[in-house]
Symmetry: none
Subunit: 139 residues, 2 copies
DNA sequence: CCGGAATATAAGCAGCAACTTATAAAAGGA
DNA sequence: TCCTTTTATAAGTTGCTGCTTATATTCCGG
Protein backbone atom coordinates (compact mmCIF):
# COMPACT_ATOMS: atom_id res chain seq x y z
CA UNK A 1 0.00 0.00 0.00
CA UNK A 2 2.85 2.24 0.73
CA UNK A 3 4.16 2.83 -2.72
CA UNK A 4 1.09 3.49 -4.81
CA UNK A 5 2.06 7.04 -5.71
CA UNK A 6 5.72 6.14 -5.75
CA UNK A 7 4.88 3.53 -8.37
CA UNK A 8 2.77 5.97 -10.35
CA UNK A 9 5.60 8.48 -10.26
CA UNK A 10 7.55 6.73 -13.00
CA UNK A 11 6.57 7.54 -16.58
CA UNK A 12 7.45 4.08 -17.85
CA UNK A 13 5.17 2.53 -15.27
CA UNK A 14 2.33 4.84 -16.22
CA UNK A 15 2.88 3.81 -19.80
CA UNK A 16 2.65 0.19 -18.75
CA UNK A 17 -0.66 0.88 -17.08
CA UNK A 18 -1.90 2.49 -20.26
CA UNK A 19 -0.82 -0.56 -22.19
CA UNK A 20 -2.95 -2.61 -19.83
CA UNK A 21 -5.89 -0.25 -20.02
CA UNK A 22 -7.48 -2.24 -22.81
CA UNK A 23 -7.31 -5.45 -20.87
CA UNK A 24 -5.12 -8.27 -19.69
CA UNK A 25 -1.89 -8.76 -21.59
CA UNK A 26 1.19 -10.96 -21.36
CA UNK A 27 4.45 -9.41 -20.20
CA UNK A 28 5.91 -9.74 -23.65
CA UNK A 29 3.22 -7.56 -25.14
CA UNK A 30 3.73 -4.99 -22.45
CA UNK A 31 7.40 -5.05 -23.28
CA UNK A 32 6.64 -4.42 -26.94
CA UNK A 33 4.28 -1.60 -26.08
CA UNK A 34 6.90 0.17 -24.01
CA UNK A 35 9.52 -0.45 -26.65
CA UNK A 36 7.35 1.17 -29.28
CA UNK A 37 8.18 4.47 -27.60
CA UNK A 38 11.67 4.06 -26.24
CA UNK A 39 14.34 1.38 -26.22
CA UNK A 40 14.36 -0.58 -23.00
CA UNK A 41 15.51 -4.02 -21.88
CA UNK A 42 13.24 -6.90 -20.96
CA UNK A 43 14.45 -7.03 -17.33
CA UNK A 44 13.75 -3.35 -16.91
CA UNK A 45 10.11 -3.82 -17.80
CA UNK A 46 9.92 -6.92 -15.66
CA UNK A 47 11.18 -4.91 -12.71
CA UNK A 48 8.65 -2.19 -13.37
CA UNK A 49 5.92 -4.79 -13.44
CA UNK A 50 7.10 -6.04 -10.10
CA UNK A 51 6.91 -2.57 -8.59
CA UNK A 52 3.41 -2.15 -9.93
CA UNK A 53 2.40 -5.53 -8.57
CA UNK A 54 3.83 -4.83 -5.12
CA UNK A 55 2.00 -1.53 -5.08
CA UNK A 56 -1.25 -3.30 -5.83
CA UNK A 57 -1.71 -1.56 -9.14
CA UNK A 58 -1.64 -4.65 -11.31
CA UNK A 59 -2.36 -8.32 -10.79
CA UNK A 60 -0.71 -11.29 -12.49
CA UNK A 61 -2.04 -14.58 -13.65
CA UNK A 62 0.20 -17.38 -14.84
CA UNK A 63 -0.81 -19.18 -17.98
CA UNK A 64 1.72 -21.66 -19.18
CA UNK A 65 5.02 -19.92 -19.49
CA UNK A 66 3.26 -16.58 -19.89
CA UNK A 67 2.41 -14.06 -17.26
CA UNK A 68 -0.79 -12.22 -17.93
CA UNK A 69 -0.90 -8.81 -16.34
CA UNK A 70 -3.96 -6.69 -15.78
CA UNK A 71 -4.77 -3.44 -14.05
CA UNK A 72 -5.93 -3.88 -10.48
CA UNK A 73 -8.74 -1.35 -10.08
CA UNK A 74 -8.44 -1.44 -6.31
CA UNK A 75 -5.00 0.08 -6.28
CA UNK A 76 -6.01 2.80 -8.70
CA UNK A 77 -9.15 3.46 -6.71
CA UNK A 78 -7.04 3.90 -3.59
CA UNK A 79 -4.98 6.60 -5.26
CA UNK A 80 -8.10 8.19 -6.63
CA UNK A 81 -9.71 8.25 -3.22
CA UNK A 82 -6.70 9.95 -1.70
CA UNK A 83 -6.79 12.62 -4.38
CA UNK A 84 -10.49 13.08 -3.80
CA UNK A 85 -9.78 14.62 -0.46
CA UNK A 86 -8.35 17.73 -2.08
CA UNK A 87 -11.07 18.28 -4.55
CA UNK A 88 -13.11 21.30 -3.54
CA UNK A 89 -14.19 20.51 0.05
CA UNK A 90 -17.53 22.10 -0.70
CA UNK A 91 -18.31 19.70 -3.48
CA UNK A 92 -18.08 16.01 -2.86
CA UNK A 93 -21.25 16.33 -4.89
CA UNK A 94 -19.30 16.83 -8.08
CA UNK A 95 -18.90 13.08 -8.02
CA UNK A 96 -21.61 12.23 -10.56
CA UNK A 97 -19.99 14.62 -12.99
CA UNK A 98 -16.73 12.85 -12.44
CA UNK A 99 -18.38 9.56 -13.21
CA UNK A 100 -19.78 10.93 -16.44
CA UNK A 101 -16.35 12.00 -17.52
CA UNK A 102 -15.04 8.55 -16.79
CA UNK A 103 -17.89 6.99 -18.67
CA UNK A 104 -17.14 9.08 -21.74
CA UNK A 105 -13.48 8.14 -21.67
CA UNK A 106 -14.46 4.52 -21.42
CA UNK A 107 -16.82 4.72 -24.32
CA UNK A 108 -14.09 6.22 -26.40
CA UNK A 109 -11.74 3.45 -25.44
CA UNK A 110 -14.22 0.72 -26.24
CA UNK A 111 -15.22 2.23 -29.56
CA UNK A 112 -11.69 2.49 -30.78
CA UNK A 113 -9.09 -0.22 -31.37
CA UNK A 114 -5.89 1.76 -31.79
CA UNK A 115 -3.65 2.36 -28.76
CA UNK A 116 -2.25 5.56 -30.21
CA UNK A 117 -4.97 7.95 -29.10
CA UNK A 118 -4.82 6.56 -25.65
CA UNK A 119 -1.18 7.32 -25.16
CA UNK A 120 -1.51 10.78 -26.62
CA UNK A 121 -4.34 11.69 -24.29
CA UNK A 122 -2.52 10.52 -21.22
CA UNK A 123 0.66 12.15 -22.38
CA UNK A 124 -1.10 15.49 -22.38
CA UNK A 125 -1.99 15.04 -18.75
CA UNK A 126 1.51 13.85 -18.05
CA UNK A 127 2.97 17.01 -19.41
CA UNK A 128 0.71 19.11 -17.26
CA UNK A 129 -1.52 20.50 -19.94
CA UNK A 130 -3.83 22.85 -18.15
CA UNK A 131 -5.24 26.23 -18.87
CA UNK A 132 -2.12 28.41 -19.06
CA UNK A 133 -1.51 31.34 -16.73
CA UNK A 134 1.11 29.47 -14.81
CA UNK A 135 4.07 30.01 -17.13
CA UNK A 136 6.42 29.84 -14.22
CA UNK A 137 9.00 27.77 -15.97
CA UNK A 138 12.24 26.97 -14.25
CA UNK A 139 14.72 24.28 -15.13
CA UNK B 1 10.18 17.80 -14.79
CA UNK B 2 6.73 19.21 -14.73
CA UNK B 3 4.94 15.96 -14.05
CA UNK B 4 2.01 15.82 -11.72
CA UNK B 5 2.58 12.22 -10.73
CA UNK B 6 6.29 12.76 -10.32
CA UNK B 7 5.47 15.43 -7.77
CA UNK B 8 2.94 13.23 -6.03
CA UNK B 9 5.48 10.45 -5.81
CA UNK B 10 7.27 11.99 -2.87
CA UNK B 11 5.81 11.29 0.59
CA UNK B 12 6.90 14.65 1.99
CA UNK B 13 5.09 16.43 -0.82
CA UNK B 14 1.94 14.42 -0.20
CA UNK B 15 2.21 15.40 3.42
CA UNK B 16 2.48 19.03 2.40
CA UNK B 17 -0.67 18.68 0.35
CA UNK B 18 -2.42 17.24 3.37
CA UNK B 19 -1.25 20.16 5.42
CA UNK B 20 -2.86 22.41 2.85
CA UNK B 21 -6.04 20.40 2.70
CA UNK B 22 -7.68 22.60 5.31
CA UNK B 23 -7.00 25.75 3.35
CA UNK B 24 -4.41 28.33 2.46
CA UNK B 25 -1.39 28.46 4.75
CA UNK B 26 1.92 30.32 4.88
CA UNK B 27 5.10 28.42 4.09
CA UNK B 28 6.19 28.61 7.70
CA UNK B 29 3.12 26.76 8.86
CA UNK B 30 3.65 24.11 6.23
CA UNK B 31 7.18 23.76 7.48
CA UNK B 32 5.95 23.25 11.02
CA UNK B 33 3.40 20.71 9.88
CA UNK B 34 6.03 18.64 8.12
CA UNK B 35 8.39 18.98 11.05
CA UNK B 36 5.77 17.64 13.40
CA UNK B 37 6.37 14.27 11.83
CA UNK B 38 10.02 14.23 10.83
CA UNK B 39 12.97 16.59 11.14
CA UNK B 40 13.57 18.52 7.95
CA UNK B 41 15.23 21.79 7.00
CA UNK B 42 13.42 24.90 5.85
CA UNK B 43 15.05 24.90 2.41
CA UNK B 44 14.00 21.32 1.86
CA UNK B 45 10.34 22.21 2.33
CA UNK B 46 10.75 25.31 0.21
CA UNK B 47 12.12 23.16 -2.59
CA UNK B 48 9.25 20.74 -2.27
CA UNK B 49 6.83 23.62 -2.49
CA UNK B 50 8.50 24.73 -5.66
CA UNK B 51 8.12 21.29 -7.20
CA UNK B 52 4.46 21.24 -6.27
CA UNK B 53 3.98 24.69 -7.72
CA UNK B 54 5.70 23.83 -10.99
CA UNK B 55 3.55 20.73 -11.25
CA UNK B 56 0.44 22.87 -10.87
CA UNK B 57 -0.58 21.19 -7.64
CA UNK B 58 -0.40 24.28 -5.47
CA UNK B 59 -0.64 28.02 -6.05
CA UNK B 60 1.11 30.79 -4.15
CA UNK B 61 0.04 34.23 -3.12
CA UNK B 62 2.43 36.78 -1.63
CA UNK B 63 1.25 38.74 1.35
CA UNK B 64 3.91 40.95 2.83
CA UNK B 65 6.92 38.81 3.54
CA UNK B 66 4.75 35.72 3.72
CA UNK B 67 3.94 33.27 0.98
CA UNK B 68 0.50 31.77 1.25
CA UNK B 69 0.20 28.37 -0.36
CA UNK B 70 -2.98 26.58 -1.28
CA UNK B 71 -3.94 23.45 -3.12
CA UNK B 72 -4.65 23.96 -6.80
CA UNK B 73 -7.67 21.77 -7.55
CA UNK B 74 -6.92 21.76 -11.26
CA UNK B 75 -3.69 19.88 -10.89
CA UNK B 76 -5.24 17.32 -8.61
CA UNK B 77 -8.16 16.96 -10.98
CA UNK B 78 -5.78 16.20 -13.82
CA UNK B 79 -4.27 13.32 -11.89
CA UNK B 80 -7.70 12.15 -10.84
CA UNK B 81 -8.92 12.19 -14.39
CA UNK B 82 -6.00 10.16 -15.58
CA UNK B 83 -6.62 7.56 -12.90
CA UNK B 84 -10.29 7.54 -13.76
CA UNK B 85 -9.61 5.74 -17.00
CA UNK B 86 -8.68 2.61 -15.16
CA UNK B 87 -11.48 2.59 -12.67
CA UNK B 88 -14.88 1.01 -12.91
CA UNK B 89 -17.22 3.81 -14.07
CA UNK B 90 -19.65 3.07 -11.28
CA UNK B 91 -17.00 3.10 -8.59
CA UNK B 92 -17.12 6.87 -7.97
CA UNK B 93 -20.67 6.54 -6.72
CA UNK B 94 -19.41 4.31 -3.95
CA UNK B 95 -16.89 6.93 -3.00
CA UNK B 96 -17.48 7.08 0.76
CA UNK B 97 -17.07 3.33 1.09
CA UNK B 98 -14.20 3.20 -1.31
CA UNK B 99 -11.36 3.24 1.14
CA UNK B 100 -12.90 0.75 3.51
CA UNK B 101 -13.83 -1.65 0.77
CA UNK B 102 -10.37 -1.47 -0.68
CA UNK B 103 -8.90 -2.26 2.69
CA UNK B 104 -11.08 -5.29 3.23
CA UNK B 105 -10.54 -6.74 -0.20
CA UNK B 106 -6.83 -6.23 0.10
CA UNK B 107 -6.65 -8.03 3.41
CA UNK B 108 -8.57 -10.94 1.95
CA UNK B 109 -6.29 -11.16 -1.01
CA UNK B 110 -3.14 -11.04 1.08
CA UNK B 111 -4.40 -13.81 3.33
CA UNK B 112 -4.77 -16.35 0.58
CA UNK B 113 -1.41 -15.49 -0.93
CA UNK B 114 -0.62 -17.94 -3.68
CA UNK B 115 3.02 -19.02 -3.81
CA UNK B 116 4.93 -17.65 -6.77
CA UNK B 117 2.43 -15.23 -8.14
CA UNK B 118 1.42 -13.37 -5.02
CA UNK B 119 4.16 -13.86 -2.46
CA UNK B 120 5.85 -10.58 -3.17
CA UNK B 121 2.58 -8.71 -3.20
CA UNK B 122 1.59 -10.00 0.21
CA UNK B 123 4.94 -8.88 1.56
CA UNK B 124 4.37 -5.43 0.19
CA UNK B 125 1.02 -5.20 1.91
CA UNK B 126 2.58 -6.19 5.17
CA UNK B 127 5.14 -3.49 4.82
CA UNK B 128 2.46 -1.00 3.96
CA UNK B 129 0.47 -1.58 7.08
CA UNK B 130 3.21 -0.34 9.33
CA UNK B 131 2.55 3.36 8.91
CA UNK B 132 -0.63 3.78 10.94
CA UNK B 133 -0.85 7.41 9.96
CA UNK B 134 -4.24 8.76 9.04
CA UNK B 135 -3.38 10.44 5.80
CA UNK B 136 -0.34 8.58 4.63
CA UNK B 137 -1.87 5.23 5.34
CA UNK B 138 -3.23 5.17 1.86
CA UNK B 139 -0.19 6.23 -0.06
C1' DC C 1 14.71 -35.66 -22.00
C1' DC C 2 16.29 -31.66 -24.72
C1' DG C 3 16.24 -27.18 -26.80
C1' DG C 4 13.97 -22.98 -27.02
C1' DA C 5 10.72 -19.42 -25.54
C1' DA C 6 8.94 -16.44 -21.91
C1' DT C 7 9.84 -14.35 -17.76
C1' DA C 8 12.08 -13.43 -13.44
C1' DT C 9 16.20 -12.60 -10.49
C1' DA C 10 21.18 -11.18 -9.53
C1' DA C 11 24.72 -7.99 -9.55
C1' DG C 12 26.70 -3.78 -10.60
C1' DC C 13 26.77 0.92 -12.14
C1' DA C 14 25.36 5.79 -13.27
C1' DG C 15 22.44 9.60 -12.68
C1' DC C 16 19.34 12.06 -10.32
C1' DA C 17 16.60 13.66 -6.64
C1' DA C 18 16.27 14.98 -2.01
C1' DC C 19 18.81 16.40 1.63
C1' DT C 20 22.12 19.56 3.92
C1' DT C 21 24.51 24.31 5.19
C1' DA C 22 25.28 28.90 3.82
C1' DT C 23 23.58 32.99 1.87
C1' DA C 24 20.52 36.24 -0.61
C1' DA C 25 16.35 38.93 -0.96
C1' DA C 26 12.39 41.36 0.61
C1' DA C 27 9.40 43.34 3.85
C1' DG C 28 8.21 45.38 8.48
C1' DG C 29 9.21 47.46 12.76
C1' DA C 30 12.53 49.84 16.15
C1' DT D 1 18.92 53.05 8.67
C1' DC D 2 19.61 48.62 10.87
C1' DC D 3 17.89 44.46 12.58
C1' DT D 4 14.68 40.73 12.41
C1' DT D 5 11.54 37.75 10.23
C1' DT D 6 10.25 35.03 6.40
C1' DT D 7 11.18 32.74 2.39
C1' DA D 8 13.90 31.54 -1.57
C1' DT D 9 18.25 30.23 -3.95
C1' DA D 10 23.12 28.37 -4.34
C1' DA D 11 26.21 24.79 -3.98
C1' DG D 12 27.65 20.40 -2.64
C1' DT D 13 26.96 15.58 -0.97
C1' DT D 14 24.78 11.04 -0.96
C1' DG D 15 21.41 7.31 -1.12
C1' DC D 16 18.15 5.43 -3.93
C1' DT D 17 16.19 4.12 -8.35
C1' DG D 18 16.19 2.67 -12.74
C1' DC D 19 19.09 0.90 -16.13
C1' DT D 20 22.14 -2.65 -18.02
C1' DT D 21 24.18 -7.54 -18.82
C1' DA D 22 24.28 -12.13 -17.33
C1' DT D 23 21.97 -16.02 -15.47
C1' DA D 24 18.24 -18.80 -13.35
C1' DT D 25 13.57 -20.73 -13.66
C1' DT D 26 9.62 -22.53 -15.72
C1' DC D 27 7.00 -24.40 -19.26
C1' DC D 28 6.10 -26.47 -23.77
C1' DG D 29 6.90 -29.01 -28.07
C1' DG D 30 9.49 -32.44 -30.61
Amino acid sequence: MDGVFEALGDPVRRQILEALADGEQPAGRVLDAVRSRAPISQPAVSQHLRVLREAGLVRVRAEGTRRLYAVDPEGLAAARTWLGRFVDPLAPFAQPLDALETELARGRRARRAEPGTNAAEAGAVDRGMRSGERGDRLA
